[in-house]
């Protein structure tokens, strides 16, 4: 069985034998059970803002590594998106000591590795590390992967805003598939960019999806923006206040700043570290982490 993970269809096993079934499910998904399944499960996949804020600098370091990896290896943005989702959910549950910046790197590499396994892409941590100039050994990455899996309770089929795009486009006044596709494509770009914004952790994935689609509609099809918004506001699954807040946050967010902000905004103490000092710290850290690490070893 190949259960390749697709951000838009987190619930599809995409088992080859089941393709027929998945198609039946996701075409015209509005009258299947899927939306209610998704909406009822999405809160399990949120990372709470309160916790994440304490760990802003860790998040920042980890994300900047992901962004670098994405550009230098030409990674699928959906892969990077999934990795960042894992990072956020991990940080919402586990605190990472600020004085150990190498952990942010290790976390980023492990999450990227896990995401690529979920998406069946051929990315290996070694590729990335060669470029970065310092290396965590396979055992360390393996242990970190297991730690991440444990903390995320093996829920690696994340429900993200992407999971809701198809459902919400059914509220758009036009049904032309080409128009819907361009709406989705544009909203996806907005989603990729908005992920770096820590504010995005505040909202439910469904709310973010609706806000991104609205922003896309405003740009691409302004004539239909109002009727789309009216229709979405009537959707039983969406909280109106929350949607309004999220739309405001998304507007205030400068989408061009996203990537640069992610790569430059972190504190400078970290960037002063040379690979050698990172590796040293990493070794020293591992010694003192032994107890924590073995706790996850069952």
């Amino acid at each position: 069985m190949e259960f390749d993970f697709d951000l838009e269809n987190p619930f599809s096993g995409s088992d080859e034998q089941n393709i027929q079934l998945s198609k039946a499910l996701f075409i015209g998904s509005t009258d299947s059970d899927e939306p209610s399944l998704l909406f009822s499960a999405e809160s399990d996949h949120m990372s709470s803002l309160a916790v994440a804020l304490d760990q802003l600098s860790t998040r920042c370091h980890a994300l900047s590594l992901i962004v670098q990896a994405q550009f230098s290896n030409n990674l699928d943005p959906a892969l990077a998106y999934l990795a960042v989702n894992y990072i956020d959910r991990f940080l919402a549950k586990r605190e990472i000591p600020n004085e150990k910046p190498w952990i942010a790197r290790l976390l980023a590499i492990s999450c990227l590795s896990l995401a690529s396994k979920m998406k069946k892409t051929s990315f290996s941590p070694a590729d990335l590390q060669r470029e970065e100039g310092f290396i965590f050994d396979a055992r360390t990455i393996r242990r970190m992967e297991l730690l991440v899996l444990g903390v995320l309770e093996w829920r690696m089929r994340s429900i993200t805003p992407f999971s809701f795009l198809r459902f919400f486009t059914s509220y758009f006044p036009l049904a032309n598939p080409i128009i819907i596709q361009s709406l989705k494509t544009h909203a996806s770009q907005i989603l990729f960019k908005s992920q770096n914004d820590v504010k995005s952790l505040e909202f439910k994935p469904s709310v973010i999806a609706a806000a991104a689609l609205l922003a896309a509609a405003r740009e691409l099809f302004p004539a239909h923006f109002l009727s789309f918004r009216t229709a979405l506001l009537c959707c039983e699954y969406l909280n109106k206040e929350s949607l309004a807040e999220c739309c405001a946050a998304m507007e205030s967010y400068d989408t061009t700043a996203g990537i640069e902000a992610a790569s430059n905004g972190c504190d400078s103490a970290y960037s002063a570290l040379t690979p050698v000092t990172v590796l040293d710290r990493h070794r020293a850290g591992l010694e003192s982490e032994k107890t924590a690490g073995s706790a996850s070893n069952g």
Binding site: E2, F5, R157, G298
Partner: protein
């Protein structure tokens, strides 16, 4: 695995033993299932990761046995994964056996059969709506909480791939009794119908306390089915004669289901006949089965 006290062996599965165990810290009873999945240098293999996360997602339903944790252990240089499930006191096969043998043999109460079948359809529909086929539904793979009257689907095929293994690691023959005719006839494409056929066989088995079709080879299994439902032909099942393993079989006429299963009332017979429909594309789905009049007398609000 020092976290757990192994209490007893509860199952001998396809890939290894299943143990009843107690979590030393919480006191919770769990079932420990060793998988044949090993980790290599690259860490957790991608297929394992995708399958366990799928299992994790499916086990969010109360009609699917809950995956509590995944434990990894190093043993003789091998890294093994154990799945830790909630523990249920028995499986449906053992449960039916208590009505068949023992001090007081008697039929299963029809309320129980009805309620278990409904819960089975719920669990199967849950898997199907997530795009996953079970492929090996049978009484041993359905777990039962006797006191609460709960039934859950278990043993969702980790690595079962497209073919169900013919022999288990103990070289025990894997049962063919619940296998759909299209699978026995070598169909290359099959869908939710394979599971619904098994559900039908399990329904009849709860009513009879005996397996419906107990063949000991693929051919015998087909002949059992044909003898009961009549030999299929292009009229009753368009396309059947072009399936890979189709041959000329003896011609049987269908028997009366109501006569063969006198303990089922007419709604039950009607539902069973829709589950044992030859043509897989006409076979009833789990979702539609739940709406069948057979369940009208069931209080569905409890589910």
């Amino acid at each position: 695995m020092e976290k757990y006290d192994k209490l007893e062996k509860v199952g001998e599965g396809t890939y290894g033993k299943v143990y009843k165990a107690r979590d030393k810290v919480t006191g919770q009873l769990v079932a420990l299932k060793k998988t044949r999945l090993e980790m290599d240098e690259e860490g957790i293999p991608p297929t394992t990761l995708r399958e366990i996360s799928l299992l994790q997602m499916l086990s969010q339903s109360i009609y699917v046995v809950r995956l509590l944790r995944v434990e990894h252990v190093e043993k003789n240089g091998k890294r093994l994964l154990y799945l830790v499930f909630e523990y249920l006191d028995t499986d449906l096969k053992k449960y039916i056996d208590t009505y068949k043998r023992g001090p007081n043999p008697r039929p299963l109460p029809s309320r129980v059969t009805q309620s278990f079948l409904y819960q089975l359809c719920k669990g199967v529909d849950h898997c199907h709506s997530h795009g996953v086929l079970h492929r090996d539904l049978k009484p041993q793979n359905l777990l039962v909480d006797k006191d609460k009257g709960i039934l859950k689907v278990a043993d969702l095929g980790l690595g079962r791939a497209f073919t169900i293994p013919l022999k288990s690691y103990t070289h025990e023959i894997v049962t063919l009794w619940y296998r759909a005719p299209e699978v026995l006839l070598g169909a290359t494409h099959y869908s939710i119908g394979v599971d619904m056929w098994s559900v039908g066989c399990i329904f009849a088995e709860m009513a009879r306390r005996q397996p419906l079709f107990a063949g000991d080879s693929e051919l015998q299994q087909l002949l059992h089915i044909f003898r009961f439902l009549g030999t299929p032909n292009e009229d009753t099942w368009p396309g059947v004669s072009s399936l890979r393993d189709w041959h000329d079989y003896p011609q049987w006429k269908p028997q009366s289901m109501a006569l063969a299963l006198p303990m089922l009332e007419s709604d039950g017979i009607d539902l069973l006949s829709k589950m044992l429909e030859y043509n897989p594309s006409n076979r009833i789905s789990a979702k539609d089965a739940m709406e069948h009049p057979y369940f009208d007398s069931l209080d569905k609000s409890q589910f």
